[in-house]
Every structure is written in C-alpha cells, then in structure tokens.
C-alpha cells in the first residue's frame, strides 16, 4: 500500500448503552480539512445563505412558499414570482414537541417538520405565505391537516398508480388548480413564458448538480458522499449557488484523482431522503471504510436525473410529466425505482446497496423487500437495510453491521481480485441505458 493509502483506524470508544454516543462518528469529510473558502465552504453555510436570500427576496416584495416534497414543481412557484423553500425537518430536538400531537410511532422527518411548526423554530416556515404539500404517505397527509389549522396549506392530490392512463390527466389538472391558487393568492398572472423561464433555471440547476454527482462514477471519486450531499440548497434557483456549482465542477475536474478512494468500499445508498442534519448513517458508512458513490433518494439523484422540456407547447403539462415520473415508494407499482437502481448500479459500480429507512416509514420499509431481492438475486451485490430515526442511540449497532458488511465485501474482492465480477453481473442483468450520463 502506498503511503497516502495508510489509513489509521479511528478509535471509537464503545459507549455505554444508557449514555448514547454524541456526534463522535465524524465523517471522513469533516476529518479531512475542509477549505475555508471555495464551493464546499459556500455550501457549508447553505442555511445562512438561504436565510439571507429569503430575507432579501421578501424585502423586495417576493413571496416565500414552503414545500414539503420533491413532487411539488418549484417552477410554478418561481413563475408566480415567489421563492420555493424546502421545509423538511432534520432536527431530533423538535420531535418531543411534535409528539404532543402526533403519535410517537411516526416517521422522524414528519415529526421533526411538525415540531418546527409548533415551536415556530424554522425561520423559513415562519416567512412562508403558503405551504404546498402532496398526498404522498399517510403520515404526511394527515400531519398536513393539523398544520392546516394555523397555516395556509395547499395540498396537491398525487395519483398513486403511475401506470394508469387517467392518472397523468388527474395530475395535470391538480397542477392547473395549483397554478390558479398561486395566481389568486399573489394577484399575479402566471404566463407560459414565465413558467418556461423558471423551467430553464431549474434545468440549469439540475444539470449542474447532476454533473457534480456524475464525478462519483470515477474509480477514484473527487468527493466523499458526504461532501457531495452538501452541494444542494433549501432554496432553488439562487444564482450565487449556480456559480459555486460551476466552480466546483471546474475545480474537481482539474484535480488529481484521490488515491485513497479506490481502497474504500463503493456504496449505493437508497431509501428515504437524508435532509440537512440527518447525515448520521452516511457518516457512519464513510467513517468505517465506505464511500457513498451514489444516492438514489430525494436528496440525491432521483429529482435531478430528468429535466423538463423547455420548448413544450404546454409547459404545465411538461412539468406534470417530469414530476409524475419520480419513483417514490408511495407509488404502486413503483417499478421505476428498481429500473433506476439497475441503471445506477451499472454506472456507479457500487459493491453493495445500503438502504436507509426512517422508522415507521411504511412504504419504504415494505418496498425494501423488493430492493433486497433486486440487489441479491438479480444484481448479485450485498444489501443491508438500516432502520433508524434521528436519535443516535443505535449508532454502535449500525456501525457494527456496516463494518461486518465491508469485511464480507473485502473478503470477497480479496479472493476474486477486482470487483469487475460485480460489474459483469449487472451488465448482464439489465439493459444499461445511459440515462444518468450526460448533463
């Protein structure tokens, strides 16, 4: 092993089960010295940037609209001269408050978001004049009814049988009603040209983020999964962000390959979104010898893989088409998710799939059975399912399973030489359309 590949094993004291460990699972990314300036540093203060941006936008008379899910077309909100802000909660501290109204056995993302609502602790939520949501999972859907008591909510009905011929028509009509609502509330006309303008901005953002994510296809990726996750923003369409994305792409492409990274186990993470503040499992994976090369979830590739047709005759229809294709586990059947996973495995060449499930997320939890089948039976790579919430009390157990998985994989690759065997299997398994490639 070369000098720079000598990795000192991080010592982690086994914690007392009654005193769960604090944030000692330092990810490699933060252990490596983070730059004081440059794109990573810029996105390191993403919340602050967004806060300043939103405050200024509001001062200029723009409206702030909160969103709760990737199904909401941000373009429609932007076309109404409003700023869409993601409101998904990532703080464990908000959960006890939320449990005063909500059942304990509910997904932490829902509880945290609701806790922020009760405590009025999310400045973006407090700024928002409208909150848009969809009928996705039961937990969210019913939680919105409680929020609706004190906040202006608008809930889009999301059809859940994507293969049905009339589903798309219904979704289009939902978006048209939403457009009317925005026009009425903000007293503005949303013209097709304004929507097209917003589509161009969002396409640009998706293309930039996609190009960054695709750098992880390299045998020696220039980023850790944790670093890549930082390259996104709660508010879309900020031009200063775009400059930083472009700068990052330029810098990373000119950088020497990171020689240590080819000794790490390549991981594809799937399942629930990893919103800001909930990166614990990702950190555990990357501080135990893994490198997350690809995430298919809502905070990863899923929402940025496909663009919206900029020249479509009917831009609302074009939006509906793009967003309706998102493969969320609330859909039945959700074949597109498995299709996407096949493609990602072929392109990013992970050595295993780790699925993260927030506790009580019924749809992802049940669907995990199909993902396991796909990984083990069809793609021939190991699969590990981790169900947890926002509290760190099970970090030691999760780390144990992750370590054991990596030991198993290393033992296999040690015997078989290179992981090329895995690659061959996936290529044989499914037609590898190269949708993920090319910005």
């Amino acid at each position: 092993m070369g000098k720079c590949c000598d990795k000192k094993k991080r010592q982690i004291d086994a914690p007392d089960p009654c005193n769960p460990p604090g944030p000692q699972y330092v990810s490699e990314s933060s252990a490596e010295k983070e730059p004081q300036n440059g794109p990573l540093a810029w996105f390191g203060k993403m919340i602050q940037n967004c806060y300043e941006y939103a405050t200024e936008a509001k001062a200029q008379g723009k409206h702030i609209v909160g969103i709760m899910c990737e199904y909401t077309p941000r373009e429609l909100i932007m076309a109404a001269d409003a700023v869409p802000v993601c409101l998904c909660g990532g703080s464990a501290e908000m959960i006890p408050t939320a449990e005063e109204h909500l059942p304990a056995n509910l997904c932490p993302l829902i509880k945290s978001t609701y806790g922020y609502h009760l405590q009025k602790a999310n400045p973006f939520l407090e700024m928002a004049e409208l909150i848009v949501a969809e009928t996705t999972c039961d937990g969210k859907k019913k939680m919105y009814e409680l929020m609706d008591q004190t906040r202006p909510m608008y809930v889009l009905e999301l059809p859940q049988k994507p293969a049905d011929s009339d589903a798309m028509a219904h979704w289009v009509s939902e978006l048209r009603k939403f457009k009317t609502r925005l026009e009425n509330q903000f007293g503005i006309e949303i013209t097709d040209e304004k929507i097209r303008q917003a589509i161009r901005i969002m396409n640009r953002e998706r293309a930039l983020r996609r190009e960054l994510a695709e750098l992880m296809k390299s045998d020696k990726p220039p980023l850790t999964g944790r670093q890549l996750l930082k390259f996104k923003s709660s508010i879309s369409g900020i031009s200063a962000d775009f400059e930083q994305y472009a700068e990052a792409i330029k810098l990373l492409k000119s950088q020497k390959p990171h020689c240590r990274r080819d000794s790490q186990v390549r991981v594809l993470m799937t399942g629930v979104p990893i919103v800001h503040g909930t990166e614990r499992v990702l950190d555990i994976i990357e501080s135990h010898g893994g490198l997350v090369v690809c995430m298919d979830n809502c905070t990863g590739l899923k929402p940025i893989l496909e663009d919206v047709d900029e020249s479509a005759q009917d831009p609302v229809f074009a939006l509906a088409e793009k967003y309706f294709r998102l493969p969320c586990s609330v859909m039945t059947k959700n074949d597109r998710r498995l299709e996407l996973l096949r493609e990602m495995v072929a392109e990013y060449r992970p050595q295993c799939i780790i699925e993260l499930i927030w506790q009580a997320c019924i749809t992802y939890d049940v669907e995990s059975y199909l993902v396991r089948q796909l990984a083990e039976k069809e793609l021939g790579i190991p699969y590990l399912r981790i169900e947890t919430d926002y509290s760190p009390s099970d970090s030691v157990r999760i780390a144990l399973r992750v370590e054991a998985l990596f030991e198993t994989i290393r033992e296999r690759t040690h015997e078989q030489g290179t992981p090329a065997v895995l690659l061959r299997k996936t290529e044989a398994a499914g037609g590898t359309q190269r949708r993920c490639s090319g910005g």
């Binding site: 190991p382 157990r397 030991e407 033992e411």
Partner: protein, 262 residues
C-alpha cells in the same frame, strides 16, 4: 509467534492466545465485563501471558472483537464479531453453514458459503429482546438462577404466550402472568420460545444445515431446544460457545500476520 483474540462482549471479556503457525490454542480466559473494560481486558491478557509463561514481546498481533472492541487499547486492529464468530465456529465445526449467536444484548445470524466466508448476516435492531439480557431479566424476576432455566422449562406442559417483544414490557407481562397464577416453568418456556421466534423472524426459515448455536446464551439449557422447535430444524450447540468469537479473532490475527509475510 503468538496471536491473541480478544472478544469484549457486553457481559464478558474473552481472550484466546494462539500459536500462529500451528493454530493451536495456547490459553484462553474469561472475565465478567465491567465499567473499566479496557483495564479488565489488559489484566486478563497479562494474567493469561503469565499463566502460559509467554513474553508480551512474542505476541505479534492482537485482534479485538465484540461490542467493546474499539475500547481495547492493546489491540492492533478490530474485526466485527460477525466475521469472528463465523471463523471461530467454522474452526470447531468445519462444516457449519449457519451460525446463530445470541449474546448479552445482541442476537445475530450468520450464513456462510461452502468455503466458510460470510454470505449474509442479520442482527437485532435497537431492542434487547431476544437476547441474553432478556433471559437475565426473567430469571431475576422469577428469583431463579440463569443456569437452571432449562431444567425448569423442561417441566412445562403449556408454555405461556409472551407477546411483548420488548424487555421492559415483557417484564410487566410476566408480572401479570405470575399474579394470575401461571406456573413459572410455563413462563420460562414461553420466554424461551418467544426469543427463538424472534430469531426465526430475523433469519427466515430457509437456513442451511448444519446450524450451530453459539454465544453465551447457547450455554443456557433449554434455549437450543426452543430454537429447534421454532426453526423446525436441528440445532447444535457449538463447543465452547462463549469462546468462539475470541477464537475467531485469534485465527484472523494469525492469518493477517501470515498474509503479510512473504
């Protein structure tokens, strides 16, 4: 050369000293786990060296495993107990295909391929139900010794149904059963069956034979029987079930050392 495997479990620390070339176990020892586990592990290690008349300098490699593996400062490296149990059990039962390891606070299931490599594994999540701790709580509550659980359970004609799979709730449930006059043998048999069922849920029913049962709980009489009933398959208790993790760690320390030699 000598290698050592240290298994710092949640209830006990186990150490095996091994001759790297002959793969013979030179010494083994066990001590109850405590607050200062690093100190306890070092003391046990020193005691074993002294007892076997070995100089510390002759120990070429130490691998730590188990829940407390990262706290053992004398270890050169750590390997998870999943890998170590597989290697340890395979050493004692060369044809083993499935390893069920129930320890103080974890239950694990490891499936092996024909060469003994880990093919798949599963373990319990947050909860300690279905582990040794669960049995301890029950024994304590019923005022009997852990060792005699099996003998008493054997007398049961109608095992009680324990539905709560949380240690805390199960304790409440047991109190309820006691007050309603359920015989304690039925309660114990019920608890053992419930733990075994928990393992089956985790493992599925398609386990390859031979199934080897290891870990501290394998020493509690009646548990192998409960597993057999739940799995509907024959289950064999591993030789020296408390030591298989440390044994595996010592073997892996030896192979790592040999691998590095030209």
């Amino acid at each position: 050369m000598i290698c050592a495997g240290i298994d710092a479990g949640s209830r006990a620390i186990k150490i095996v000293l091994m001759d790297t070339d002959s793969r013979q176990v030179i010494a083994k020892g066990l001590i109850d786990q405590g607050v200062e586990q690093d100190k306890l592990a070092s003391e046990l290690f020193e005691a074993l060296l002294k007892h076997s008349d070995i100089n510390k300098k002759d120990v070429a490699k130490i691998v730590a495993t188990g829940y407390g593996r990262n706290a053992v400062s004398i270890a050169d490296t750590t390997i998870t107990e999943i890998t170590c149990q597989a290697v340890g059990v395979r050493q004692l039962v060369p044809k083993a295909m499935t390893v069920i390891d129930i320890g103080g606070q974890d239950s694990k299931l490891v499936q092996l391929d024909r060469t003994g490599k880990v093919r798949d594994f599963a373990m319990n999540d947050r909860c300690a139900a279905g582990t040794g701790r669960f049995l301890e709580v029950v024994a304590e509550r019923l005022g009997i010794k852990l060792e005699s659980l099996g003998d008493i359970a054997a007398k049961s004609k109608r095992p009680a149904v324990i539905s709560s799979m949380c240690v805390v709730f199960a304790e409440t449930e047991i109190i309820g059963l006691l007050t309603s006059g359920t015989p304690r043998e039925d309660i114990i048999a019920g608890v053992q069956a419930a733990i075994a069922e928990r393992v089956v849920t985790m493992a599925g029913r398609n386990l390859e034979l031979p199934i080897i049962f290891t870990g501290g709980v394998a020493m509690i009489s009646g548990m192998d029987l409960a597993l057999k009933c739940a799995l509907q398959k024959s289950v064999t208790v591993s030789p020296a079930p408390q030591m298989t993790g440390a044994l595996g760690a010592a073997i892996l320390a030896s192979s790592q050392l040999n691998r590095r030699r030209p």
